[in-house]
């Protein structure tokens, strides 16, 4: 794969250092040559063509670009792609299996947790990080976990309901 920012600026000069990174994305090993200044969000969207991860504000405010990095929610517009070398990244494309939606996705569908849908991937991954750590959160805990994700349709009420729906479904599925 070519380096993205070289495409943006076609004459980078001969000495632009490029790094080869190996990142496990949604369980698959992906190898890419990246310029150090390439942001993880841009590698995911343009390099790996996983466009479910959205970039909203580009200033670490909105959380639309949230992905899981070694299981923890991070803003992928605020990390360099080179920093992900050797790490695991989960994007929204990693939630569903070929045949089934993830319970969090089902919850958003069932409880009308999205309107325009722009913030949804980030919301769902922030929700996944919460439910992985705390399978039975209170409404307040859900609101706390999503407080770094903005929804400009202001559909927060249903987003919170969706996550609580998913939590219940996941608990009913777990063998305990």
């Amino acid at each position: 794969m070519s380096t993205l920012y070289e495409e943006i600026r076609p004459d980078p000069g001969p000495d632009v250092p490029v790094r080869r990174v190996t990142i496990t994305v949604n369980g698959q090993k992906r190898v890419a040559d990246v310029e150090p200044r390439l942001l993880l969000a841009h590698l995911i969207r343009q390099g790996l063509r996983l466009t479910g991860t959205h970039t909203g504000c580009d200033t670490s405010n909105c959380g639309a670009c949230t992905v899981l990095f070694d299981g923890k929610a991070i803003k992928s517009c605020t990390m360099l792609a080179v920093q992900a070398d050797g790490h695991e990244v989960t994007t929204v494309e990693g939630l569903a299996t070929a045949s089934e939606l993830h319970p969090i996705q089902e919850g958003f569908k069932d409880e009308h947790g999205l309107q325009c849908g722009f913030c949804t991937p980030g919301m769902m991954l922030a929700a996944k990080a919460l439910l992985d750590e705390n399978p039975d959160p209170t409404e307040d805990e859900v609101r706390w976990a999503l407080s770094g994700n903005l929804c400009r349709c202001t559909g927060y009420q249903n987003i919170v309901k969706s996550v609580l729906w998913a939590a219940e479904k996941l608990r009913s599925q777990s063998p305990s």
Binding site: R37, L39, T59, K72
Partner: protein
């Protein structure tokens, strides 16, 4: 948005990192959590020639209480770990109050306390907290290590006193001389916004008398404000309505707020007064409940 071009190094030892900074001759910048630096790079407010990423250096992520009761926070200890720390909840009330108020939960997974001190944003919460607690930063450079009191470490807005080839490797909170109490309050328009105003209060009491007090202010001046007079007004007596009111007034006087879209200068000064009063009153109320 994307940053201007830089060289990137991710050394696996502190010595290598210091060496890279040294050879960078002032044009290299340390990357830790990156939650302030990466946005600055994207906005091109910062355009260093090279970045020295310290995330691959083992042994910098610690959060440790020493036998003497002091607390050490390593350069890669993330806000999220501080937020979840039982040590903070049990024995560091000012830090425990501040940790959940830093930025937002996702930023807290990456950002670091030491990085926040180095960034020296006048709106940064940790600088106020560590100033109120009388803490210091340990800087490591080619010539060895040296401690720098946080009150001296921040030299202005977005400025610290580190030499170009030094790395802040940890922050240290000294052991309390008495029973520690305190709090942190921040007014923000929404989670993750810059503070309209923030107040850190840390006191230590012995037989009900205040033996040490630190009060520091966030977002109401060109840099973190150490309201030393306000703290001094509490030392030597038990907390009372009078001493609390005196400290709150002195803290409000120490504030240097500016009128902006978050509120008028007078409003922010009043928020400082109210927050100092509120934190100290809560301390007396919980002491009464415990008695």
């Amino acid at each position: 948005m994307y940053p201007s071009r830089f060289r990137y190094e991710a050394p696996s030892s502190l010595d290598d990192a210091i060496d890279l900074l040294h050879r960078g001759g002032g044009e290299a910048k340390v990357l830790a959590g990156g939650q302030s630096l990466v946005p600055l790079l994207k906005l091109r407010f910062a355009a260093p020639e090279s970045l020295v990423d310290i995330n691959n250096i083992p042994g910098l992520g610690f959060l440790r209480e020493e036998a003497d009761g002091s607390l050490r926070v390593g350069a890669l200890c993330r806000h999220a770990e501080l937020e979840r720390s039982p040590i903070l909840r049990a024995r560091q009330p000012t830090m425990a109050a501040a940790a959940p108020l830093i930025a937002d939960p996702i930023v807290r997974n990456r950002g670091t306390l030491v990085g926040s001190l180095c960034h020296a944003d006048p709106q940064g919460d940790w600088a106020s907290v560590v100033t109120a607690l009388g803490g210091w930063v340990v800087a490591a450079g080619p010539g060895g290590r040296r401690p720098i009191a946080v009150a001296d470490f921040v030299s202005g807005p977005f400025q610290n006193v580190l030499a170009y080839d030094e790395i802040a490797v940890e922050a240290v909170i000294p052991a309390p001389k008495g029973k520690a109490a305190g709090g942190y309050l921040k007014l923000e328009r929404r989670v993750g916004d810059f503070a309209t105003a923030g107040v850190a209060v840390a006191i230590e009491t012995s037989a009900d008398l205040v033996v040490r007090a630190g009060i520091a202010l966030t977002g109401v001046g060109g840099s973190t404000i150490d309201a030393t007079e306000a703290g001094r007004a509490l030392v030597g007596s038990a907390l009372s309505r009078d001493t609390i009111a005196a400290a709150a007034d002195l803290a409000a006087q120490a504030a240097r707020p500016r009128t902006d879209h978050r509120g008028s200068a007078e409003y922010k000064r009043q928020v400082v007064r109210t927050f100092v009063e509120r934190i100290l009153t809560r301390i007396t109320e919980s002491a009464e409940r415990a008695a």
